[in-house]
Amino acid sequence: MIPGMHSRMLLAGATLLGGLALAGIPAHAADNKPGAGMHICISLDKVNASREGQIRLWKQAAQELGVPKVTIEVADEDAQRQSSQVETCLAQRVNGVIEIPWDDQAVLQDIRRARAAHIPLVGMDQAPADVGTIDYFSGSNPYADGLKLGEELVKLVGDKPTKVADIQGALDQYNGIERDKGFKAGIAGHPNIRIVADIPTDWHPEPALAGMENALEANPDLGAVFVASDGMLPPVWSALQKVGRYTKVGAPKHVIVLSIDGDPQGCAGVKSDYMDAGVAQPFAEMTYDTMKMVIEMAKTGKEPTGKDRVARIPGLMYTPANFSKASAGVWGCSE
């Protein structure tokens, strides 16, 4: 049903194999689960809506896998703090660490320290600068997500000349940069589609509002807007309302809205027909995979090899047309 269900089932199979070793011992039901008795530490760069969603999903995964203790540390956008928190986890001899790094270079030091302490460390969502150095990483595929929406825009407008506003994320982060690159690659080769405003926002709604207002001011005939994160949808609605163009898909003055994340705002936007297409991030798979993998590495002492080291899970496209089927895979619809 969910696209990630497939990988989940594979992993469930692997769990079963691992569980067989324990099968002979009659024990409390929870003890049969792979994560029994483990303490997993999760180190986050910051808290926001996406992280809250991920935390909920991690807790679910921990419960399914029988992990009794999960500690969550938040670095609040401070690289030194995060390094200290990871060390604190290592000092407590936790069984494994899952990290969303704030600084894609400083995490390399954390990886080295974890290895020296013989504690598995896996990464999620934001990749280290050199992804080859981490034993396991699970993230979305921001380039592919942007590309999908770019191609969708091409399908939606055909040959019609269209001006586009590009509401970018933070341009110092891989996800922000790659979503933007992917989108631009998706519309490349279609000279009728032209980006008239690049608006960097650092993922904050206030610059998104100001930028969208200014873009509509400079281009009253704006035809579409690409939004790098659902967190910036409310200000986009606000700016569209101001010029009387907040309309349902297909209405004459409608501005095509495309957005990435699949949070509750994106879900509601597509559900109510105000948004033309969204790409949902595979948070359920990412959180489950990382939790699963860190447990396995702690148990076996072996890390995955070759292609299995990095999972780049493409997001799920959802539109008003496929919403009833697709919504089950959108984390913001189902939590």
């Binding site: 926001n48 400079a218 967190g231 606000s238 309302q241 101001k242």
Partner: protein, 327 residues
């Protein structure tokens, strides 16, 4: 002799109006490179984008005039809005889902802002600590409390009264612009035409001698920080109404924008000198820079360089001209 005096008078007026001159220069510069810059709707855009900063700058001006500072306002805004959201949100939505927020958000938000501002003043008065330290302490504590209370999920709004302040238009202009004018007018009248204003300036001139001559420093502190908290709450209500969502990052770095606006507006951090109109113009100047750079599609990292340089130029000019006038 007469020539020298005329010259001095000319410099004095230049000093007084240096900010307006600078604002006009920058507007002329942007207008010459960007066609949509100089339109009525863009004027409304600029003013409505400046409204929140300008309104908070009114309160901050009071604090800075008494030679103190309030760096807690970003966190204060976040906490006041969180409290208001908790009280006024219509229950039923799941975490992260958009919800309606009723009109209670306004009185509760304003009351929370005022109260938290008074907390700052009371801390300084009762613990006898420096203003920077007191508001540094609340900077941490307010944001921590806001996150603890409502978590970091986005709180998007369904169409409901909470968006009234941010999204209403009157006579072709945004409501926040009128609110900005009203707050500025009240702020300027209190500062310029009442005993409270005279006390504030006198205290800023010299806190020690003000206390010795019997000026009510403690009470005036309540006025200044209360005003700062209240104005910040108004700014917060405008921002959440405009963007249509309350996010955990609300207000981060807001204190620096507002202090910059006040200082660019000619209010001295040493206290005793400054005007409301200057602070409003300072806030508008900052937004004009953003708006202009935005319209010409400039590189994002240039923004802070431009702002830093303008801040220093404004202050250097101000100091040099002032020195010239005094000599």
């Amino acid at each position: 002799m007469i020539a020298a005096r005329l010259n001095r008078a000319w410099i004095a007026s230049l000093q007084r109006y240096s900010l307006i001159v600078m604002l006009l220069l920058i507007i002329a510069l942007f207008a010459s490179v960007s066609r949509p810059f100089f339109t009525v709707t863009n004027l409304d855009n600029v003013l409505s984008q400046a409204a929140a900063t300008a309104i908070a700058a009114v309160g901050m001006t009071y604090v800075i005039i008494i030679a103190e500072i309030d760096i807690s306002i970003g966190a204060l805004m976040s906490l006041a809005m969180s409290v208001a959201w908790m009280v006024a949100v219509v229950p039923g939505a799941r975490a992260g889902e958009a919800a309606a927020v009723n009109a209670w958000v306004y009185p509760v938000g304003l009351a929370a802002g005022l109260l938290l501002g008074l907390v700052n003043a009371l801390l300084i008065n009762s613990l006898r600590i420096n203003a920077l330290i007191a508001t540094l302490a609340t900077f941490f504590a307010f944001r921590g409390a806001a996150l603890k209370m409502v978590g970091a999920d986005d709180k998007a709004f369904l169409p409901s009264p909470v968006m009234f302040l941010g999204r209403t238009h009157l006579f072709g202009a945004s409501l926040p612009v009128f609110v900005m004018i009203a707050v500025a007018a009240v702020g300027a009248v209190v500062l310029g035409r009442t005993p409270v204003g005279r006390y504030l300036y006198a205290i800023g001139g010299s806190q020690r001698s003000a206390v010795e001559t019997g000026l009510p420093l403690g009470r005036m502190r309540l006025v200044a920080y209360g005003a700062s908290g209240l104005c910040t709450a108004i700014a917060g209500l405008i921002i959440v109404g405009q963007v249509g969502t309350l996010q955990s990052g609300l207000g981060i770095g807001f204190e620096f924008t507002v202090i910059t606006a006040v200082v660019v507006g000619g209010t001295s951090l040493l206290g005793g000198r400054g005007t409301i109109i200057g602070s409003i113009l300072g806030a508008i100047l900052l937004v004009v820079i953003d708006n202009g750079l935005n319209l010409i599609n400039a590189s994002v990292y240039i923004y802070d360089v431009v702002k830093g340089v303008i801040l220093l130029i404004a202050v250097v000019i101000d100091v040099l001209l002032l020195r010239h006038v005094r000599e």
